[in-house]
Symmetry: C2
Subunit: 672 residues, 2 copies
């Protein structure tokens, strides 16, 4: 493995899986008459219908075809070529956008060495090589062996040649290594074989290193990805399942953004951390392999059987080791009320680098102006149902859009009515509704929601979870993740792609052209209420023991509820009353700024970028405010005593202050 | 001394010296017709004149009279009574404001113990008391001996009874103690007598403790406060000079805001630091005394003579010690375009506590909405000239106001023409103009500018610096700081008070009612250019030696200049063109938000509250960007080597990113 410092990591690059949409905050009026009725004109339904009709599945298909024609690893010549292709389209005088430009950053990317390719081998005490893992995937469709297909590797893992006895360590979680120790296995100097899942990629090596493990292998178990199917004729190109030689690549870096310029745009002149001491990288050599190779390793391990929960679908009893058995687009003149920025992010797979650098560079303006961020990354995982992640205020606009669009299957249901069959929940306010997931840090929305506090969503089509337990589409991040795979297995006919484009486009137009922003801020109340209840039920007694009262939190949630209901009533009344443009703008600012009020850059000083007090990472199992949950968890498990309980109280105060600020933002602007 | 935890530190309290004005961001239109021309109506000049005319010196005098009738130490019953008095006036149905309310905080205040009053005495080795300092001031005007006059003390200094040999330590700066050591004086266990000035109050004890000094006395030298005058018949009540027994009180706390709830509103439920471990307090017992007593102590010291620069006006040769010689309101129906919030801060003297807590509690909304903050603390120091501190964008509106108001003296000059005679500078753009000072942390504007990034100003009338070298009006913070002092010596006739009220009121109306905000953002260019030049001249060679280029900073400053000029031209053009209300609003947001773009809460992690990259504290003597200047200074003086130079580069990047963000905010909103 090798470190490469790359000039010209590019934002604005089209990537197979990357399409982001940002909505700007300002109207660009077309008329010259400042007081013409058009200033107050609401959403143009005719335009909405026109655009919906123009979205054409066959053209989307052609576009994806073109974009995926060649591998285009971030910073590669093809990556740059796609930048130019997108620029050309977006600058097209007939069908292009107002303006289009690129931003270039100098970022730390990690590539495998071509001179010294990564190797995984079983070596006898004599030095003889008994078995070697593949160095690239089987060339099944003539697309796996091209010179631009990067070999499997763990980006940002250090280079090295560790040797040691193999152990099987399940997901590579701390409790997994703990279990191995309990079983009497000496971990020092071993190589740990782990399977994808359970925790993030890089965390496996972080955990392993704590137990003095020397190196980590990671494979994809067919139980986790293929519904147990693992034979060549059951997998791609004969089905959508991952072939035995497929290896998932990806970033093993703990954070996102350029590792050397946290919080700063990676311009040539920007301050950089020393790569040797920068944090967040896997501490020991790490390499991903396919389940074909993993099977050879795992099914030949000696030692006691692994626990039942650790067993997979490789067709043998998984042992723990150590060691082996002895033998072993828009209309041309119409313009929306608010500016729309289309962005296509570079280096997402290296850790959301393009989007993060972009937010760092344009931090002020984005935070001042942005109404909402729409993310489309893997637009179609499969063609069963819509799947949306987002903050509560976007729920209503997504529902409005989904009710208006027919599902791509022959059911004649709307996307909404189809969706509710697969993901649903019982809302105290609305009854049974489709269930939105919450936003983690899995795609380019992460800096927008966590760092900037912008209402965000991620939209995709996905599979029926009752029919498959695949945690993602099976060829994900392998060399089999190709156009023909999509064309044949993921979305034949591309109807689901069209459905996603229509949904995102409908949401986009509603956000950009409605007189009042369609962000229903009162939908945050259900989240706050559920967080509060979890805190009361699961932490209340404990907190009481330490004389910490949840009373102020109850009051703050109630204030938020009252303010959000009153704001909604105010908007409803104004909508009937031909409102003054400045009244509209005042309310729109309140709607836009609500999400910002949940940011506190001093809340989690050790969680880089995470400032959102509702959606920061939660390690505790109690589904409540993350800072509170995590602080309680630490206080219970440490011997820090009063300092740890003081931190619990500090975190509680931070949440209360944020909710009070949010309620204040929703109340009339002349009332603090 | 004694720690008292006070319930009900009050914001909204009138204080003799405290009046703050915040401008809200939103119009409150009066008409029902949304498209009536009134929406775009500019500043109402008739209203402006009416209000100017209504401001009446005799009524101001009566008001101050009422407010200063009794001592009203923060949290005292009289303090609470004044809250009610202000509320009553502000709620008056005839002449009051839209709404008025109070915020109550539970903060840590520090008071002297009445049971164990502070004592300073000279004790013989036998234990006999040879001399005692006064425990209160001489009752010269029947106002110094009342039960509500708090005894002299150093707020937030710890209690204790240190004993030791006396040394004279000038200002109590680090170099002063260094000088004493160089002179061979053993400082361990001594009591250091220092004079006010040079550095902040609390810093004297901080520095002393580093040299193992056991206690600190602080006095006011007549050379620094009285132009050398020190005799009773030369001082109050016979002149404006400080009488010999006057003792300056004040906060010795290093930061501002409630010491136990940094960044959080001090509500009863908020998390609090442990007072025993909270930082920023003087580490050793400290007590202020009058120069009458200081003279006895200082003029009897033995040892070598103090350096010439350390000598004062007590009429003797100052020796260093150690030890002694052997013998030794608005019209009722008209409303401004934007909301105006009047605030009167509590506990300013304990470290800007009321205002800081207020900004902590209403952080989100204030930062979202506030156009500008006008501070009036000591409105009249003396009656020679206007004195304004502020950020560059407020210069133009203050000039406009000052040109419209006659000076209170018989000269018939405008306030502006009078002002320019006392404070001026040569501007590359405007030629000779009055000089605005920059905002430190001396009054309640501090959290607004440093923590929230709101364009701020502080307005006062003051003295002719060519005629007196007093660093402030002489009775400042003494028991002689009374109404009759003001009435007789500071501003007989109260013409200067009227002038300040007219200036602040004129600025307030311009900010609240002008169609375009009168914030001239291009005036920041001169500051940036001068900071840049200082960096180039004084640090350029040094930075070059360490391969750090100022090129990106030059580019960023140029971008700011271009964008601010273009924005100004855009506004000028629109002013002639009957602009659309949303165009107006868009530009006003740009003007309002500019100051916010200079905030970076991660820039100075060790400087509590300071986030403004242009106005954070600068310890280096190079008048450039403070983060850069300070980092260079540290890098030159430490043996940290490359880590210290990396911090220089990080600070440079932070400034560049902030300036790039500022330029982006000024550019058209659809252009990142």
């Amino acid at each position: 493995m090798k470190w490469v410092k790359v000039l010209g990591g590019v934002v604005g690059v089209a990537a197979l899986l990357g399409l982001g949409i940002i909505l700007g905050h300002f109207a660009i009026p077309k008329g010259a008459d400042p007081l013409a009725p058009s200033v107050s004109q609401d959403l143009d339904l005719e335009i909405l219908e026109t655009v919906m009709g123009q979205l054409d599945a066959s053209r989307i298909r052609e576009t994806l075809r073109e974009l995926s024609r060649e591998p285009h690893l971030a910073s590669s010549p093809r990556d740059e070529a796609l930048v130019q292709l997108l620029l050309q389209r977006w600058r097209d005088p007939e069908s292009g956008l107002d303006s289009a430009g690129t931003s270039t950053y100098e970022v730390l990317l990690s590539f495998p060495s071509q001179e010294q390719p990564n190797r995984v081998a079983v070596v006898a005490p004599t030095g003889d090589i008994l078995f070697s893992c593949r160095q690239s995937e089987e060339n099944l469709t003539e697309e796996q062996a091209g010179p631009d297909v990067v070999s499997p590797y763990a980006a940002y893992a250090p280079s090295g040649t560790p040797q040691g006895l193999l152990v099987y360590a399940n997901w590579g979680m701390e409790e997994d290594f703990e279990e191995l120790q309990t079983q009497g296995i000496e971990l020092k100097g071993t190589i740990a074989l782990t399977r994808y899942g359970g925790i993030g990629r890089g965390a496996k090596a972080v955990n392993a290193a704590k137990y003095q493990v020397a190196g980590v292998l990671v494979y994809t178990d067919p139980a986790d990805i293929n519904d147990g199917h693992s034979l060549p004729n059951e997998t791609f190109p004969y089905s959508w399942y991952l072939p035995p030689s497929g290896v998932e690549r990806g970033s093993y870096y703990e954070y996102f953004g350029d590792p050397l310029t946290p919080y700063l745009p990676a311009n040539p002149s920007s301050f950089r951390l020393d790569p040797a001491t920068a944090s967040g990288f896997p501490p020991i050599p790490t390499q991903p392999i396919g389940f074909e190779d993993a099977k050879v390793l795992l099914c030949n391990l000696q030692g006691t059987s692994a626990p039942a929960a650790w067993q997979g679908a490789l067709g043998c009893d998984y042992k723990l080791g150590p060691g082996f058995q002895p033998d072993g687009a828009f209309a041309s003149t119409w313009r929306p009320r608010r500016s729309v920025v289309f962005a296509s992010w570079g280096a997402e797979e290296f850790g959301l680098i393009g989007s993060t650098e972009f937010t760092e560079e344009f931090f002020s303006k984005l935070q001042e102006r942005t109404v909402a961020y729409i993310n489309v990354d893997i637009s179609v995982f499969a063609n069963a149902t819509l799947r949306v992640q987002g903050t509560p205020p976007v729920q209503s606009v997504v529902f409005s859009a989904a009710k208006q669009i027919p599902a791509p299957d022959p059911s004649r249901l709307s996307i909404y009515d189809n969706w509710i069959r697969y993901f649903n929940r019982s809302s105290p306010v609305y009854g049974l509704v489709p269930r939105l997931g919450s936003l983690g840090a899995g795609s380019d929305y992460a800096p927008f929601i966590h760092f900037l506090g912008i209402s965000s969503m991620d939209i995709a089509y996905t599979y029926d979870q009752s029919k498959t337990s695949a945690r993602i589409y099976p060829t994900y991040h392998t060399a089999f993740d190709t156009f023909s795979y999509v064309d044949k297995f993921v979305d034949p006919g591309f109807g689901s792609h069209r459905a996603v484009a229509q949904t995102a486009g409908n949401v986009l137009l509603r956000l950009s052209d409605s007189l009042f922003l369609p962000l229903n801020v009162s939908d945050y109340s259900e989240t706050l209420r559920s967080f509060l209840q979890a805190a009361q039920q699961d932490l209340g007694a404990l907190l009481e023991q330490h004389s910490i009262s949840l009373g102020p939190l109850v009051t703050a949630v109630e204030k938020f509820e009252e303010a959000s209901i009153a704001l909604g009533q105010n908007i409803s009344a104004l909508q009937k009353a031909n409102p003054n443009p400045l009244q509209v703008r005042m309310l729109n600012d309140q709607l836009m700024l609500l999400e910002r009020t949940f940011l506190n850059p001093r809340a989690f000083p050790e969680e880089r970028y995470y400032s959102h007090v509702l959606w920061a990472p939660r390690t505790s199992s109690v589904a409540t405010f993350p800072g509170l949950a995590n602080a309680c968890s630490r206080a219970m498990n440490t011997s820090l005593g009063s300092a740890a309980w003081a931190e619990v109280q500090r975190q509680l105060s931070i949440v209360v202050a944020a909710l009070e600020g949010a309620a204040a933002t929703l109340r009339p602007v002349d009332d603090l």
